[in-house]
């Protein structure tokens, strides 16, 4: 385990070094992403300029949800580039190379690249999150700070899990399905708004099947000290993000099934 971590760090170090060979491109792409996601938030803000609040949620509160999910997603997106590229790797036969090395394929793909330009989204998420926290005048305490960290961590686990599942599908289709983007990018968009604005089945889907609410909406209720109109136990708000670790473990098991399928069909 420590050995795997060491190798992962080595991979990441090399990935950063090779990206730094194209420094100008890194700076421009990061800045571009900062702008694009920034405009996205301005669109939400302009909506609130007209409607003031959505189901009792004000702009700073929604900004809190928005910042939190975008920070999680930026980390996940940077860390899971290997899985994102996976469809082309299967097609070109490069995946065979990973099977020739005495390490798990998931570890090797995780170490494929740490995509630094995602820092654009990360910075934007941090700015929005900080602005929201400042405006809402949140009474920060140790448990609340802990909750922010596990919410971000759980969110990153959830999105990485989704991207692993998306990559796994490529074992059968040899192309990563765009359909899964509705879970990842769509998930980010969904989580930017408070859950009760959605229909019941949609809420349930994003709570119990894809536990998106567990890393964003539920912990935010605890931090913002709002009541839960869905009436789930309060304790859940404090531990829900950890469920996503299980989600990631399940995703890795599904990945293993995919690898087994690949090795018996060779395609």
């Amino acid at each position: 385990m420590t050995n795997a971590l060491r190798l992962y760090m080595h991979y990441l170090g090399q990935s950063i070094r090779s990206q730094m060979q194209y420094r100008a491109s890194f700076i421009m792409l990061s800045f571009g992403q900062l702008l694009i996601t920034g405009i996205e938030f301005l669109a939400i803000a302009s909506l609130f300029a007209r409607f003031k609040h959505i189901q009792g949620w004000t702009l700073p509160e929604v900004a809190f949800l928005y910042g939190l999910i975008n920070i999680s997603f930026a980390f996940a997106d940077a860390a899971s580039r290997g899985f994102d590229m996976f469809g082309t790797m299967v097609k070109s036969g490069d995946f065979d190379r990973l099977l020739l090395r005495p390490r798990s394929t998931a570890l090797q793909l995780a170490g494929y690249e740490l995509t630094l330009r995602r820092i654009g989204r990360l910075i934007q998420g941090l700015i929005v999150f900080s602005w929201a926290s400042y405006t809402l005048d949140i009474a920060w305490s140790v448990p609340k700070i802990y909750l922010v960290f596990i919410a971000i961590f759980g969110g990153a686990c959830l999105f990485i899990g989704l991207m692993i599942i998306q990559a796994t599908i490529a074992f059968w289709t040899t192309e990563s399905l765009e359909l899964m983007n509705t879970m990842t990018y769509g998930g980010v968009e969904t989580a930017q708004y408070p859950l009760p604005i959605y229909r019941i089945w949609f809420r349930k889907f994003f709570t119990y099947i894809i536990p998106l609410a567990c890393v964003n909406y539920l912990p935010s209720l605890a931090i913002l000290e709002r009541g839960d109109p869905m009436g789930l136990p309060v304790i859940l708000q404090w531990v829900a993000p950890l469920i996503c670790i299980i989600f990631l473990i399940v995703a890795l098991q599904i990945w293993k099934i995919g690898v087994r399928h690949y090795r018996s069909t060779g395609s």
Binding site: L99, S104, G266
Partner: protein, 325 residues
């Protein structure tokens, strides 16, 4: 105890049939017809430690499927395979730690990293201890003359330079078995000879078992003590190159440079090629002694020069395929 035991290996693939046109593609989403292809149709062989084996066959014969099964990438349908006492597809991770694989067409180095950094990364991947790593790395750098390439990113290397680096990379963990898939493809003659020379040394000095798949039959003639020929998923021939020659044909070639351009007619030899003053004849040394044939021809014709050759290996292989069609 042999290094590699393969018994009755069978591997079939399901290939999805595509229907033509947009409508066909749409229908293909809902319902697909599968065609079964038998890539390996019961192959068996054993390989002892320190052998240098040429594994040849036309495209689609099952060469790369064999290599994929032996290297633990693919799981066969049925059959047995044991390499260094392990079943490759059941113990993939411990198996691949003891083998090296080089694909001529594809590098296993990191495209944007300087060569030396790739080696360092492989050290961590294979968990080689620092002392042994430093020793192996320095040896490889010396033998393959890599010193001047170490700081160059792989993407900037020429094909020949890259192949030398790839060979070194595949040996960082000191595998006792090395699979080489077309290691000389696309190389210029100097690089080709360097690669061949290295493979030979590796095999002789370090006792590494080498399995070489190639289309370049000069590689086989220069290196291999034993040749396995695969065609349509079956081993067509297995043994020393001489046996393969003898099995397919005992014929030899007599090449004669004449003073003139007249025809040669002899009851025991036939003309296969005529090129100006040069005549290529084939004959069977069991029917006529080489010396007698030469004596007869030189008596009848003014001859400038002549020499005897074995049938070229390309021709032997193509005859073998023709027989088994």
């Amino acid at each position: 105890m042999p290094h590699i035991i393969v018994e009755n290996l069978v591997k079939t693939f399901q290939i999805a049939q595509r229907q033509p046109g947009v409508w066909g593609a749409l229908r293909g989403v809902l319902h697909r017809n599968y065609r079964q292809i038998t890539a390996l149709d019961g192959i068996s062989f054993t390989i002892e430690s320190g052998e240098l084996i040429g594994y040849i066959g036309p495209n689609g014969a099952g060469k790369s499927t064999t290599v994929k099964v032996l290297s633990g990438i693919l799981v066969p349908d049925t059959g047995r395979c044991e390499i260094l006492g392990r079943v490759p597809w059941k113990e993939r991770i411990s198996h691949v730690a003891h083998i090296g694989v080089v694909f001529g067409q594809r590098t296993q180095l990191w495209w944007d990293l300087p060569v030396i950094e790739s080696f360092d990364l492989l050290r961590d991947i294979y968990r080689v201890d620092h002392h042994q790593y430093a020793q192996t790395r320095d040896e490889m750098i010396a033998i393959l003359d890599l010193e001047s390439l170490l700081d160059i990113p792989v993407r900037q290397l020429s094909l020949g330079q890259r192949m030398r680096c790839d060979l070194a990379a595949a040996l960082i963990h000191r595998p006792s078995i090395l699979f080489l898939d077309e290691p000389t493809i696309g190389l210029d003659i100097v690089s080709k000879l360097a690669v061949r020379d290295f493979i030979k040394r590796l095999n002789q000095e370090r006792d590494v078992t080498v399995i070489l798949t190639t289309h370049d039959l000069d590689d086989i003639e220069a290196l291999c003590t034993r040749v396995m020929v695969i065609g349509q998923g079956q081993i067509l021939s297995d043994g020393p190159l001489e046996n393969l020659r003898a099995r397919v044909t005992t014929e030899r070639r007599l090449i004669v440079d004449l003073e003139g351009t007249e025809d040669i007619t002899d009851p025991d030899a036939s003309v296969v090629l005529r090129d100006g003053h040069r005549v290529h004849l084939t004959f069977d040394p069991d029917r006529v002694a080489t010396a007698d044939l030469i004596a007869r021809i030189t008596a009848q014709h003014p001859v400038r020069d002549l020499f005897v050759e074995n049938t070229p290996i390309e021709e032997i292989i193509s005859r073998l395929y023709a027989e088994n069609r």
